[in-house]
């Protein structure tokens, strides 16, 4: 596996030699400020002395716990279902694949609330599938932790699929072809060649999906509801807290930012680009 690494290094050296057009710095700086400064504002507005008290309340610990658990479950489902989907999209030969791909991207462009409503009208108590579940088994999906996971998975899936598909396409199929000529079955080549090759892409996709799950609000509130310990994740608590205690809302937002930054820092987004 030395060749791709050297190729990547060479690519980086090329970029350095070409240099950066200077006029890009101004819009780039503005863009960065647009993202970074509001977060700085959040830090400035934080009531630091009260921070521990605000963050260690039972409601916020419950919400943090629920957020981490549901985001982990959702990410696992994203990998288990989204991984194969990405492979099919990148390597499959199906009519209408282009159309399938655009459907997969829908949650990226849809407002999450719309996603939540869509889920509600599918598996809600009066929904297409939900009505049957309710009548046959007495199962109500909304208001359960499973509903939170479902909402998060819905919005996060495209993040994993897109980054993994990108990794699959850029890695090419040369190694698989070689493996095939050496007698490996498609399944063996997939397991021994494809998966290790796109592991960084899968990892960064999973981290992106996890981060998206942590921040999910709209689909959750529209579909799952909000109840402490069951469905009230951190973003829902932030939204609620700002009604009664802005300091608490800011403190919880900061916590969410810190967790998100940690997640992204571990993932190192540049692996997405490679």
């Amino acid at each position: 596996m030395t060749t791709p690494v050297t190729a990547r290094r060479a690519g980086r050296a090329d970029r350095a030699a070409v240099g950066l057009p200077r006029f890009l710095w101004i819009p780039a700086g503005l863009a960065f400020a647009l993202i970074a400064l509001p977060v700085v504002g959040l830090g400035l507005r934080t009531d630091w002395p009260r921070l521990p008290e605000l963050l260690l309340s039972e409601a916020s610990l419950d919400a943090l716990r629920l957020s981490l658990i549901t985001a982990s479950c959702s990410t696992a489902i994203c990998i288990l279902l989204g991984g194969p989907l990405a492979v099919v999209l990148a390597r499959g030969h199906l009519p209408g694949l282009q159309f399938l791909r655009s459907v997969v991207l829908l949650p990226l462009v849809l407002p999450p609330v719309v996603g939540g409503l869509a889920l509600l009208y599918l598996v809600g108590r009066t929904g297409l599938v939900g009505q049957g579940l309710d009548l046959a088994f007495g199962i109500t999906v909304p208001y359960t932790t499973a509903a939170v996971v479902l909402a998060q998975t819905f919005v996060a899936l495209p993040f994993l699929v897109v980054s993994l598909e990108g990794a699959l396409r850029t890695s090419g199929q040369r190694y698989e072809a070689v493996a095939a000529t050496l007698g490996a079955s498609p399944a063996l080549a997939f397991r021994r060649v494809t998966v290790p090759l796109v592991l960084p892409g899968l990892l960064s996709g999973a981290v992106l999906a996890f981060a998206r799950c942590l921040g999910e609000f709209g689909a959750t509130i529209a579909f799952a509801g909000s109840l402490e310990g069951t469905t009230r994740t951190l973003p829902l608590l932030v939204y609620l807290a700002r009604e009664s205690d802005v300091d608490a809302a800011v403190a919880l937002s900061l916590l969410l930012v810190v967790v998100a930054v940690l997640v992204i820092a571990i993932a190192r987004p540049r692996t997405v680009a490679s």
């Binding site: 009066t126 109500t140 208001y143 009230r232 009664s244």
Partner: protein, 259 residues
Amino acid sequence: MKLRLLAVGAAALVLAGCGGGAADPAPAESAFPEERTLTVFAAASLTDVFTELETRFEADNPGVDVVLNYGASSDLAQQLVNGGPADVFAAASAATMATVTDAGLIEGTPEVFAQNELQIVTAPGNPENITGFADLARPDLQVVVCAPQVPCGAAAEKIETATGITLTPVSEEPDVRSTLGRVTTGNADAGLVYVTDVASAGDSVEGIAFPESASAVTDYPIGVLTSAPQPELARAWTDLVTGADGQAVLTGAGFVGAP
């Protein structure tokens, strides 16, 4: 270099274009000196009523444009405290108004111009046969309420305390409209919302009044901001709202009139 100028110019244009619309609520006085803008921040539950009053006010005051900014009272209060420009603020609870009065932003004392009470809301025909507040504690029912952090939830909590009946809701929604939505979509058997929400939902739901709701009446205070660019118009607006015409529209929408 030309390219850099072009890029900067384009960026400036984009920013100016995007930001221009909302930045200044009071447009520069143009050819008509009597063209004035009255900015009213109002609780979302007042949308129907204030939109109707806007038409009336603009007809009575030619050249005046009423700009209504509806939202959650607490959001609007935060906007005002953080410098949001407005002439009048009408809140859906005394607590949110207090945020603004405590900051010294309201002239005198806000006046309570309407009251709202909770009602039980169910599907049309009341299929679960709910007759009173105690029924909401039935374990076979999926009940939704507002979270205690928002006014409708605080009112629900007050009734629970007063009656000694504890509800076990399947969800505590962030606002009264999403609580109503759970019932209108059939995803909950019953909910606690304001009388006015039941009225606005029309035939898609049924409202059940219960006597205990009197223990948790929500006040709607209105006040003129000390920084109001149009203080006279602002007072004219509050006069309309608290006057006979305004009260008629309010009670028509299900509100209980000024106490």
